[in-house]
């Protein structure tokens, strides 16, 4: 691999052992993939920082890096295993809390932004054509699909390494020639809300792993694209789609590629496949996978006020970025009294919900519905937030 003089210097250890190890990681992985050189990145986002996910060994590695490692580019990290700064509405094992704090402490010492979110694009908006090194499969797909920025899916340690050296191997989706659609997905049915978009994403991920789908569909909201990306990335290894009329790299419906038609029946069947519980069984409603920004919290406040809800018979949990806990505190108490709990900086997929005894939940996130039964043995019903609130208001 070709390296600049500065990159050689880092590789030779002239900027300390942490940066040397980081550079070696990126160069060796890049060489194994056949990359010819490295590229500077504008923003690194590290996934795999939940203690329940990486355990003592991950903690050990991150603390070793933090001894002398400092980030050299704007860097953020994924949600943690429990809500930050709020009393969680479910019990969290104590060792878990302490070790998660140590992981976050090490990241902050290295210069990471206190982010704890899976929507890094809300903290810093990616520019078209810009190179990034992101973990978190849903954010990667959103960066490529919605913003036209360039990133592969980088696993835990590689993303940490990229933060320290501010570079990644020039390979895969960093190269223009790999960003062209390879299959056309024509959607012959209405995709009305986030939930429908998620189900469509699940179909795309499950059936078109390794492809770059052009999705010929009319979508109204950005949140729908995010939902589609998250589900596709969970169900398969989809790291980019082109959504008609929305993706910056949309060059029109591609010709000469295989075509797949999705109709209302296919969406209904896919939804049945993902749903593992009935709405009646759901002990709570979870929304915010990927994380919500404050507008959704405000929408819930409005909805509760408009219907003068004093208490929801079943609670609603809303996951938001870790750095939003503070600004939303003014709603916290008011919402809690009504049965709505904010979960800043966490995610049920990387959490310990199972240990709290909860067996079935409802959600509007197809990504959550995909992972919870597989990873945590928690069954999931699909519904919209509004539907759930209306059904359980009192």
């Amino acid at each position: 691999m070709y390296l600049t003089r500065e990159e050689e210097r880092i590789l030779n250890g002239e900027e300390g052992p942490a940066r040397q190890l980081a550079m070696k990681l990126i160069v060796r992985v890049g060489e194994a993939l056949g990359a010819e050189r490295l590229v500077k990145v504008a923003h690194v986002h590290a996934s795999g920082i939940s203690y329940s996910n990486i355990g003592d060994y991950g903690l050990e590695f991150i603390e070793t890096l933090a001894r002398d490692g400092k980030v050299s580019v704007y860097s953020t990290f994924n949600p943690a295993g429990f809500p930050l700064g709020e009393k969680p509405p479910y019990p969290v094992p104590e060792t878990h809390v302490e070790k998660q704090r140590r992981i976050i402490g090490a990241l902050l010492r290295m210069g990471f932004e206190l982010s704890a979110t899976c929507i890094p694009y809300m903290l810093r908006k990616p520019r078209p054509g810009e190179h990034l090194a992101w973990g978190e499969s849903s954010a990667v797909a959103v960066a490529n699909t919605l913003y036209g920025a360039r990133t592969n899916r980088e696993g835990g340690p590689v993303a940490l390494a990229a933060a320290l050296v501010g570079r990644i191997y020039l390979w895969g989706l960093h190269l223009g020639e790999n960003r062209l659609p390879t299959v056309l997905v024509r959607v012959n049915t209405g995709v009305d809300d986030e939930l429908d978009a998620g189900v469509l994403g699940y179909l795309v991920g499950k059936n078109l792993s390794g492809e770059l789908p052009y999705i010929d569909v009319r979508m109204k909201a950005r949140r729908q694209v995010i939902s589609l990306c998250a589900a596709a990335a969970a169900a398969g290894n989809t790291a980019m789609c082109i959504v008609r009329g929305i993706s910056p790299e949309d060059r029109g419906v591609p010709t000469g590629v295989e075509k797949i038609v999705v109709d209302g029946d296919a969406l209904r069947r896919a939804r049945e496949e993902v749903e593992t519980a009935s709405i009646e069984e759901a002990e709570l409603f979870f929304t915010g996978c990927p994380h919500h920004s404050s507008d959704v919290v405000e929408k819930v406040v409005e909805l509760l006020e408009a219907r003068s809800v004093t208490r929801l018979r079943r609670p609603v949990w809303i996951a938001v970025p870790g750095n939003m806990g503070e600004s939303l505190r003014r709603y916290g108490e008011w919402l809690r009294r009504r049965g709505v709990y904010l979960l800043p900086g966490t995610c049920l997929v990387v959490g310990t919900l199972r240990k709290s005894g909860i067996r079935a939940i409802a959600t509007d996130s197809v990504k959550t519905a995909f992972y919870m039964p597989r990873r945590h043995g928690v069954r999931v019903a699909l519904a919209s937030l509004k539907e759930f609130i209306e059904a359980h208001a009192s």
């Binding site: 990681l25 060489e31 194994a32 993939l33 340690p157 590689v158």
Partner: protein, 127 residues
């Protein structure tokens, strides 16, 4: 035999052969350095098809090396990024390009001597 050097280093030791792909997460005990079938990989030359699976895998290989339980080298048919990341973190020499038919002929207890200087590696096997 000349193969591809991915992570540098030299090693001499006995083989432990895994005929398919191995996920360090879930298939290797990080406290004992053993495979699920009980064989120890500590200090051995681990010969296998390649790595696979969870991105937590590199942390397991790293933990093994911190406990002195890592293999002394890894030889694979194909190296994928997760295995490469783990080998760098653990400073375990990694060599790729082992012919697949040779993997199927090898068994535990063969003697291997190897030197990996990326992009090249030299390997001698005696069974």
């Amino acid at each position: 035999m000349e193969l591809r050097g991915i992570v540098e280093g030299r090693a001499i030791g006995e083989t432990v052969v895994v005929k398919n792909r191995l996920s360090f997460y879930g298939e290797v005990d990080p406290e004992k350095g053993t495979l699920v079938d009980g064989r120890s990989i500590a200090g051995k030359i681990l010969v296998m098809e390649g790595g696979r699976g969870s991105t937590v895998g590199p942390y397991i290989l790293y933990a093994l090396s911190r406990r002195g339980l890592a293999p002394s080298a890894i030889v694979v048919v194909e190296a994928e990024p997760i295995l490469v990341a783990g080998a760098v973190m653990a400073s375990v020499p990694l060599v790729a390009g082992l012919p697949r038919d040779l993997l199927h002929k090898l068994h535990d207890g063969c003697r291997v001597e190897l030197e990996s200087v990326p992009p090249k590696a030299v390997l001698a096997i005696e069974c």
